[in-house]
Amino acid sequence: MAGERYHDRVVAWLTAFAVAWSILGMLAGVYVAAELVWPTIDFGREWLSYGRLRTLHTNGVIFGFGVSALMGTAFYSVQRTCHVPLFAPRLAWFCALAWQVGVLAGGISLLAGWNGGKEYAELEWPFDIAIAVVWVCFAIVFFGTIGKRRIKPIYVSNWFYGGLIIVIAMLHIVNSLAMPVTLSKSYSLFAGAQDAIVQWWYGHNAVGFLLTGGFLGMLYYFLPKHAGRPIWSYRLSIVAFWAFTYSYIWAGPHHLHYNAVPEWVQSLGMVMSLVLLAPSWATLVNGVMTVAGAWEKLRTDPALKFIVLSLAFYGLATFEGPMMSIKSVNVVSHFTDWTIGHVHSGALGWNAMITFGAFYFLVPRLVGASLYSVRLANIHFWLALAGTMLYVLAMWGAGVSQGLLWLSLDEIGELSFSFKDIMASMAPYYALRFVAGLIFLSGALLMAFNLAMTGKGRRTVAASPPAAESSRS
């Protein structure tokens, strides 16, 4: 069909929004890290208070940065892997913009103290409904595009993006069921132990299908594109996808070890978390083998460096997770900063880095100019690596010592240390973590500058027509 063009403007805007949210979300993160070192820097202001700002940090990076990046890259790759422009492009614009308005308004509501109280699902019921509506529109655009595709097989990346859309919808709707009281307050339909089980079914799988599965969609598209090599094993990607989709859902109760939920639920959660290691590492092997043979590109291409490093952190985090789900390890790690370290080795090392890699690839192509500065991108790479390593090491140190000191008993069976003393001994780790966050954030600022300058230097290029480039790498 003549005159058809890929809809890339919406992708460009989603990329810009994602970069903006990454800066704002990480800034909130660095600020709350500083509050744990200097607790009075909230200056007695409600909206700067740790309990509210930390919630803004998690929601800002997951829903602002993460989802905008996933939506943008999904819209970009689904057109190219299906050789057709987006289905219902106006609806795609609606998704993109409504999501930003929702994250902004939702963020303000969190600072105002509207908090549903469930981790990673804090937004109150009006936002829950809005999220569900936008998500359904996202599904219509995505699956609509797949529905009118010109190549028969649906490419692997789209299975993962599809899994993200379907499973997150299911989790979000069930976990958000609540009885509204006022505009800013509702009570969960589930109570106590049942609420805990539903919440961690949601919470763990928001990590699973959004932060892992969604970003694996990104990996399966951008890694082969970048490396200029096809996915190493098609069969392995099939097995890994279905095993991942099946087993992740069961793993939530490892967040409730030794809590007041049935023993069988905890044990099943642990066993399935260990099972999860297989599909996680199958994907790791597939990714590494895809890059193998293109190693020389690592020297010249900062974007590929980010993607390869993200794969390493993906491997680390998906190994650490199952280990932490073992009850005898969890007894030490639960409730400690080890969990925070684990989350950040995934969030900084895997999610943020693969997104940075994808953006360094994407933005020059979207604006039709070459990257403003490869040198700055390389500096960003080293800042991101240093920041992540320092963060994870500081939190390992803090978490393991907390866990062991809390449990420590002296020779007559009394507690060896008071909680207060253990808490006070965390100061150097928390200071290091603050520095680590600053380093990572400064790298992200360099990226924002680099991408903005790349955008400024753009030539007016005609958008590429469908099928102008091969999709199956």
Binding site: Y50, S188, L189
Partner: protein
């Protein structure tokens, strides 16, 4: 037909793919989460567990608003060191009226499930408003604004209790009728202190 041929069908039909993902991802929830949600004894209140009174309920909602569960758990695990440090371990029935549950996932500060009665009301009040006046090394934020506002500033306590009654909490008409009077004159900090003081292990005497 081998597995790869079977998969060729699946990956060429988007409807089948959507259905497949939904089915495969739903199994875990159906086998593991649904039975728990249908298991009544997980939310059967213990003999000394009663629904929160209007003051404690208001305090609990403030605890949620300020994100206290970001740093404080309410879940004593059945481990020797935890029972020694905090008190009797937490049981499911104690959370029967908790919407949402507030077990938490992080202890930047200590567990609070057995905090009730360990300190006086005055200590809790001063500690909430300015933690470092009592614990110099503390990294907890102060909450001075809690002393400035009326506990039920938006007058929503009766709607809250009615909403909870619809969810099965046994509030009587008289309970709901009397709620605004119970909160009259209280500041937010008073309600939050009342909630913290109510966080206690179930009464041994009341247990069968």
């Amino acid at each position: 037909m081998n597995a790869v041929d079977l998969h060729r069908k699946l990956e060429r039909n988007s409807g089948l793919l959507i259905f497949g993902i939904l089915l495969v991802s739903a199994i875990g929830g159906l086998v593991q989460v649904l039975p728990s949600v249908l298991q009544d004894d997980l939310v059967t209140p213990g003999p000394s567990t009663a629904p929160y009174g209007p003051v404690e309920l208001t305090g609990r909602d403030l605890y949620i608003r300020e994100g206290c569960s970001t740093c404080h758990s309410q879940q004593v695990r059945p481990l020797l060191a935890e029972v020694k440090r905090y008190g009797p371990y937490s049981k499911a029935g104690e959370s029967a009226y908790d919407r949402p549950f507030l077990w938490g996932s992080k202890r930047t500060g200590p567990d609070l499930h057995r905090i009730g009665g360990k300190y006086t009301d005055l200590w809790q009040r001063m500690h909430l408003l300015d933690p470092r006046s009592l614990v110099p090394d503390s990294i907890m934020p102060g909450y001075p604004w809690l002393a400035e506002r009326a506990a039920d500033a938006d007058g929503s306590i009766q709607s809250k209790m009615r909403a909870l009654r619809r969810l099965g909490h046994p509030y009587t008409d008289a309970d709901i009728e009397a709620a605004p009077a119970a909160l009259a004159g209280l500041r937010e900090v008073d309600a939050l202190v009342a909630y913290l003081q109510a966080l206690r292990a179930p009464d041994r005497e009341a247990s069968p």
